[in-house]
Amino acid sequence: MESVNAKYVSQKISKTRWRPVSHSSLQQPDIFATGSWDNEDNKISFWSIGNHGSSGMDEGFEGDPQLLCEHKHDGDVLDLQFLDQDRIVTTSSTGAVTIFRHHQNSQTISVSQRWPRVHRYPCDNAPCTGVVCSSPEIVTVGEDGKIIVFRADQEGVIRVIENADSSTIHAVTYLRTTEILTVNSIGQLKLWDLRQQSNSPSQILSLSGDRLPLHCVDRHPNQQHIVATGGQDGMLCVWDVRQGSTPFSLMEAHSAEMWEVHFHPTNPDHLFTCSEDGSLLHWETSTHSDMPSFLQGGRNNSMISRSAMAPAGGNQSLISTWLSGDSSKGRLETTHMLPSQTLSVNSLDVLGQCLVCGTDGEAIFVNRQVPV
């Protein structure tokens, strides 16, 4: 693994995201956005790692990320997503949701649309903790337990699910185009069908033991019933939402809160997690001939898989490598991706062969040759 250098940026990074590359081109991503937190003046920034025409680069030129432009942001940036090539949606600790537009020609940023104070308590603002978008629809969740649906370019909100949750909702993601998944601070994974008008979830799944908060959720890119979550105790849980109301398997991943979990978008045998304990792990399942499986209780990786059940019936070749019963075949490998212990890694994003992450040590790490 090539060495990863830190770029110190004088702000604690709460979120980083790659700008999406069009599927037709085989380019590696070259621009990413970051949001800061815990500053008196928070900012969102766009950075470039100059991957355009990579053949022209000098050998050994690491390509430190270069700041393209930045813009002031009111409140901590709690979540950030690219809406399309030029626009990002951010959510703030003041309860506001904002769309920023990045003007590539002049390298400036402007506020395209803003919904202030959408998440709030009766007499106070509530931080808006998560956002997911599928242009033009935007869904946000917050500490006030509401789920709010917007459309870009439309004033006002489309729909509010009041009291969707009695505790804080930490993250949201799409399961299908009309269904979303949320995770909350009492360890529940809730499925919502947005086509229905009811204000209650269509399904609730929860951990079987202690109800510890779940902080992040991500769906398998190809197999939509497989979902991974990470929580306060650093456990990585893999769920099958079609069956059962408890996780399919649990793996000890980190020694502190897991902040983000991501399946690799094009190569879903690879999973990445980052945590408060300052580590970023790269999980890789490998299939062994025709029997896909992963190791149960791999002691050398200090991982203990608590439960793994073979799905009832089912064609084995369709079983994802993340869910399997046969423990003796196949491997699950984990590697640390950061050179040494740092302060909490708050966010990561992976696209193609590039990985970017941001830490509380005010550093950004970019790795351009992730082995996927």
């Binding site: 901590d76 009766p122 509530a126 505790s167 109800r211």
Partner: protein, 638 residues
């Protein structure tokens, strides 16, 4: 009480009006000052006086973050390594720190090129001075080179901090005729003064080609320059051998001078005098030397190349006196460097602490020196040793920053005596705006077994959630703190809600608590009571009855709820399922009656309404089970 070292600095508060009295209060790093009048009430402004502005500079922030990373790495160096390996490691760590300072300086200079009037210009000279001092400390204390290599290191030190020679040389070389450039001889002499003879010789060649008549002279000078011996630390030559060789060379140069070999060329004559170490000639070139320590190193190079570390301070003192005017007052930097040459580490640290605004430099340097075991354990009046004192001061300063407080935690961790206490006091003052920040602070407290702080933070967050009617959040915070009392409070709220509205709120929470419900009795009751309602709705009456019975017998129901439970029991008794099962109704009745009597005796005294309800209850039950005589019920116990 010790005497003051310097006069206290005066800070003017511009916004405060003249003639007003000012009151003040100390904060962790700042002072709050307010205008006060003894007579009239009311004051309009509170002024916050910040001592340390450096932590708010965006470029210096990188310094703090990167050096924090190095600091944490330094603390993990194993004690059991052999000292030689450790020394190399310490030197490399020292170089790391210095490269961080240099990176900061470069960035500052880049910023200043774009915006020359930037306020951060003052940091450039401070950083330069810091790096100069640190480098010298590395050479003298950490690397602790003996006689021989010592001079080589000092030469490197001087060369690194006199960058304008290269700039001038570049200018000269890029001109059309370098040898005729007005700065040409300055460059050559500067090279010689710094002991960079290769470059000097290359420059002289250009002059030699212009003056073929003086070719012999130039050749002689070239030979002299090339033959000057430099000590080779890795070689087999001993110091004494080197000394002998050097003296030979010195004599040769002296002979050339006496012979007037260079008499016809003024510049070469000067160079020859420099090579022989003539002080007057050196002093004539004060402008090229620009600092007394450059003069010192040059003088040592040409007079005493085998200088021992212990002899340094004699030469340092004399050079400083010779170089500086009698009237000029030595600057703080000069006295710090002098203290370093005298190997007085404590004086260096003390002077730096006074001269600099921020504790960063002294804290990190002292920590490194302490790891090298160079500081005697020097107990201060206030109980801890010097290293810990400085680290605590630095970290406390960091804690006042809205963002850098996270770095300070690691510094406190590495102060064995008082770090924990300081951290306990400071961490409670971090403002918690979002849950995410609270979680991070909690994680810090939990990892250090600071259970008091954990409880207090969870309570703050839970109260806030409760105020905003987020019962689920409040409950999850009390579960984290294992705070049974608060869980009881929340359950009371739920039960009150139920009594007021007749239905439960937040069913997704209550139905899915799992083992967390055992945290408090009240919570368990709440969950079980809700379960009872669910069973009733699903028409599973015998199970519902059993549950209700166990709730009553277990006595975890709050007193205010006993009436509700009794009323709930009534419709159950109507159900065929229940009344036909063998034991249940009788037991239920038995306990109901006990409770009823208990109520009367202990709680309510005599009240009309209560009496009515009780009477109707007893009547109904008696009517229903008319077939049974009192014997079947047994004697109720009071």
């Amino acid at each position: 009480m010790e005497e003051l070292d310097v006069e206290p600095a005066i800070t003017n508060i511009p916004a405060a009006s003249d003639g007003k009295h000012l009151g003040f209060a100390w904060g962790p790093g700042d002072i709050l000052a307010y205008e006060t009048l003894y007579m009239a009430p009311g004051c309009s402004f509170i002024h916050e006086v910040r001592k340390d502005e450096d932590i708010y500079s965006p470029i210096l922030r990188k310094l703090f973050n990167e050096s924090h990373h190095i600091f944490v790495g330094l603390q993990t160096i194993r004690e059991d390594l052999p000292s030689k390996n450790k020394k190399t490691q310490f030197v490399s760590i020292s170089k790391n720190y210095r490269s961080v300072i240099r990176a900061c300086m470069e960035e500052l200079q880049q910023v200043l090129q774009k915006w020359p009037r930037n306020m951060e210009i003052r940091y450039v000279s401070i950083l330069l001075a810091i790096e100069l001092i640190w480098n010298l400390c590395e050479v003298l204390f950490i690397d602790a080179a003996p006689a021989g290599p010592l001079l080589l290191h000092l030469l490197d030190w001087v060369r690194l901090h006199k960058g304008d020679v290269d700039e001038k040389a570049r200018e000269v070389l890029q001109s059309e005729s370098p040898a005729e450039h007005h700065d040409y001889w300055d460059v050559v002499v500067s090279y010689v003064l710094q002991g960079r003879f290769e470059e000097a010789r290359q420059m002289l060649v250009k002059q030699a080609t212009l003056q073929p008549a003086a070719r012999n002279m130039y050749k002689l000078m070239d030979t002299l320059l090339s033959k000057m011996p430099f000590y080779n630390p890795g070689g087999t030559q001993t110091l004494t051998e080197f000394d002998v060789k050097w003296r030979h060379w010195h004599e040769e140069v002296d002979r050339c001078l006496q012979d007037n070999s260079f008499a016809s060329n003024q510049h070469l004559e000067i160079i020859c005098k420099i090579l022989v170490g003539d002080e007057d000639t050196l002093l004539e070139h004060k402008e090229l030397l620009s600092t007394w320590y450059h003069f010192l190193v040059t003088r040592l190079l040409f007079c005493h190349p085998t200088v021992k570390p212990t002899e340094l301070h004699y030469y340092a003192q004399s050079c400083m006196t010779m170089f500086l005017d009698l009237r000029s007052v030595p600057e703080p930097l000069d006295s710090i460097l002098l203290a370093a040459f005298e190997f007085d580490i404590h004086q260096v640290i003390k002077d730096c602490s006074i001269a600099l605004n921020n504790w960063w430099f002294v804290a990190h340097l002292t920590d490194l020196l302490d790891h090298c075991k160079l500081l005697q354990s020097h107990n201060l009046h206030f109980g801890s040793n010097l290293r810990e004192f400085l680290l605590l001061e630095y970290a406390s300063g960091l804690f006042t920053h809205h963002s850098l407080w996270q770095l300070a935690v690691d510094y406190f961790d590495n102060c064995p005596e008082f770090g924990h206490v300081y951290l306990e006091l400071q961490i409670e003052r971090v403002p918690l705006d979002t849950e995410r920040k609270a979680l991070k602070v909690l994680r810090i407290c939990e990892q250090r077994q600071m259970s008091e702080q954990v409880r207090s933070i969870c309570k703050i967050m839970a109260m806030r959630a409760l105020r905003n009617n987020r019962l689920g959040s409040a409950l999850s915070w009390s579960i984290r703190a294992k705070d049974a009392a608060f869980a009881t409070l929340i359950s009371e709220r739920f039960l009150q809600d139920y009594c007021a509205r007749g239905t439960f709120s937040d069913l997704d929470l209550i139905d899915n608590l799992g083992p967390a419900m055992l945290l408090s009795d009240r919570l368990t009751f709440l969950v079980k009571y809700r379960e009872f309602h669910k069973l009733y709705e699903e028409n599973r009456f015998s199970e519902a009855a059993k549950l209700l019975l166990s709730l009553i017998t277990a006595k975890i129901a709050p007193r205010s709820f006993w009436m509700t439970l009794l009323t709930d029991a009534l419709p159950l008794l109507e159900q065929k399922e229940v009344s036909h099962s063998a034991h249940c109704p009788y037991l239920l009745l038995y306990h109901l009656t006990c409770l009823v009597y208990g109520f009367i005796v202990f709680c309510y005294g005599s009240s009309c309404k209560v009496d009515q309800l009780l009477t109707s209850l007893i009547k109904e039950s008696v009517c229903r089970f008319a077939g049974l005589g009192p014997e079947g019920l047994g004697t109720p116990k009071v």
